[in-house]
Symmetry: C2
Subunit: 233 residues, 2 copies
DNA sequence: GGCAGAATTTGCGCTGGCGCAAACTCGGGG
DNA sequence: CCCCGAGTTTGCGCCAGCGCAAATTCTGCC
C-alpha cells in the first residue's frame, strides 16, 4: 500500500485542529480503500472491526427491517466520520454503509480507537460532537414523521440534501449523487409513487427540475414554504 | 447540603465499575435535587449547564415542534444518565426533561465532564455506550414509523415500556408511572383517540388491562404477535 | 361528599396516501 | 444502433387512521 498523503485529510474539519505531524501520525495507522458504486463498506449486524472517514464520494447508511424493508438512516458526505461503533462501545454495526458513487475511504482498526482518542483529544471530541448531532438529527426526524404530512417531509428531505451535498449549477442546486424516487421514499417513510407524484407537481410549478436519479432544486424558498405549511398544497 | 451517601449510586450499573473511593469522590462533585411531578429538570433550547443521573423516579424527555406539538423522545428510568450535552459538545439541550413522578436527581456541572471522564474512564465509556444505544433506539423508531402500522407501533411501545419500567403484579406487568393515552400517542406518532381505540380492543381480548393513566400488560406474548404482524387485526 | 376539570371512550365522515397495475422513458451494454 | 431493463409516471380504488364532537367516567381538591 502506498503511503497516505497528509493532503488527503488536512482540509477536513475533523482533522483541522491537529498539527501536521499529528495528521501524519494518524494517517500512518489508517488504510485507504476504494469502493465501487453500490458496494458495501460494512454490513448491518456484522462484527465492527473498523471506523472510517469518507475521503471522496457519497455513502448511504441503510437499515433493513427483519422482513427486508429498507430505510435510509442518512447520507455521509466527504470528510465525515462514520461506522463509529468503537467510540460507542458497540460490537456490531447497527446499519449497512453502501457507496452511492465510487468512493475513497480511510479505515482504522477499532482497537486503535482508545489510543487515538487519548492521543488526539480534538479528534475524539469532534467525533462525539458528530455523534451528538446525528442523535439530534435522528430525533428531529422522528418528530417530523410524527407531526408532518408526507409533502412536508419530502420537502424537508430535499432541502437537507441540497444543503449538505448540493452543487450549484446554473439551473439551481443539484444533488450531486444519483438518487432515485425510491431512495427519497426510504428517507421519508413513504412510497416511490407518492414521491414521484410530488416531484411531478413541484416540477410543473418550477420549484425543481428532476430526471432519472437526479433532482435539482430551483426555488429553495418555495420548498421551505412547503416544508413548513401543512396546507397550501 | 447534606453529604451524599455512596449507597445512592453503588448499586447502579453506571457506577458499578468504580471503586468505593472513586464513587465517593464522584459524589463529592455532585449536587442532588428533588423535582416534583410535572416540573422540568431542564428545558429545550436552554443553555446546558449540567448533566444528570436519575436516582429515583421516572423522567419524560420531550421535544416540542416550532408550532407547539410535543413528541416524547424517551423515558428515563432509575440509574440512567441524561442531559449529556456536555459529553457530546453541545451547548444547549435539544429537548426538555420533565419529571413523570416525583424524582431525585444528581447533577454535575458540565465543566466537570472532561475531568471526570479522564479520571473515571469506565464512567465515560458507559456514558458513551448509553449514547450509542439511544442513537440506535432512535433510528429503530424511525424505521418503525416508516414501515409499521399504528397498531404495531403502539404494541412495540407498550412492550418497551413494560420491559424497561414494568413492575410485576399479580395481574400482569404494570407500567409503574402514570402514562396517559396522549403520552402513548406522542411516543408513537398517532392520536390519543386511536390509542384509546386500540387499548379498548386489546382489553376486550384480555391482552391488557388499563385505567386512567395506567396500563398493565397481561399477555406480552400476544402483544409481540401484534407488534410483528401487519395483519391479524 | 360533591363538584370541576381532566382523561377517556366512542361514533361518524372524510381523505391522504398506499397498493396495485399498466404504460412509458431513458440510458447503457451488446 | 437497437434492445432490455431499471427507473419513473400516472390512473384508480380503497381504507387506516385522523379530525371533530359529544358523552361518560374518574379523581383530586375544596
Amino acid at each position: 500500500m502506498a503511503a497516505l498523503d497528509r493532503s488527503l485529510i488536512s482540509r477536513l474539519p475533523l482533522f483541522r485542529e491537529l498539527t501536521p505531524d499529528e495528521q501524519t501520525e494518524l494517517l500512518r495507522s489508517a488504510r485507504s480503500s476504494r469502493y465501487a458504486k453500490d458496494t458495501a463498506i460494512f454490513e448491518q449486524e456484522t462484527d465492527a472491526h473498523s471506523f472510517f472517514v469518507l475521503i471522496a464520494g457519497h455513502i448511504r447508511v441503510v437499515r433493513t427491517t427483519p422482513d427486508g424493508q429498507q430505510v435510509i438512516a442518512r447520507y455521509i458526505s466527504e470528510g465525515e466520520i462514520f461506522g463509529v461503533a468503537a467510540a460507542l462501545g458497540r460490537t456490531t454495526y447497527p446499519a449497512s454503509a453502501v457507496a452511492a458513487v465510487d468512493c475513497v475511504v480511510l479505515a482504522w482498526a477499532n482497537a486503535l480507537w482508545p489510543e487515538l482518542a487519548r492521543r488526539f483529544p480534538a479528534f475524539g471530541a469532534t467525533t462525539y460532537r458528530t455523534v451528538g448531532n446525528r442523535l439530534q438529527e435522528t430525533q428531529t426526524r422522528v418528530m417530523e414523521m410524527s407531526t408532518e404530512q408526507v409533502e412536508q417531509r419530502v420537502a424537508h428531505a430535499l432541502l437537507r440534501l441540497a444543503n449538505q451535498t448540493g452543487r450549484k449549477t446554473d439551473s439551481g442546486i443539484e444533488i450531486d449523487f444519483p438518487i432515485s424516487r425510491q431512495d427519497i421514499a426510504e428517507m421519508t417513510g413513504t412510497t416511490l409513487h407518492t414521491v414521484s407524484r410530488l416531484l411531478s407537481k413541484w416540477e410543473e410549478r418550477g420549484i425543481i427540475v428532476s430526471g432519472r436519479q437526479k433532482v435539482t432544486v430551483k426555488d429553495p424558498h418555495r420548498l421551505v414554504v412547503l416544508s413548513e405549511n401543512r396546507d397550501k398544497g
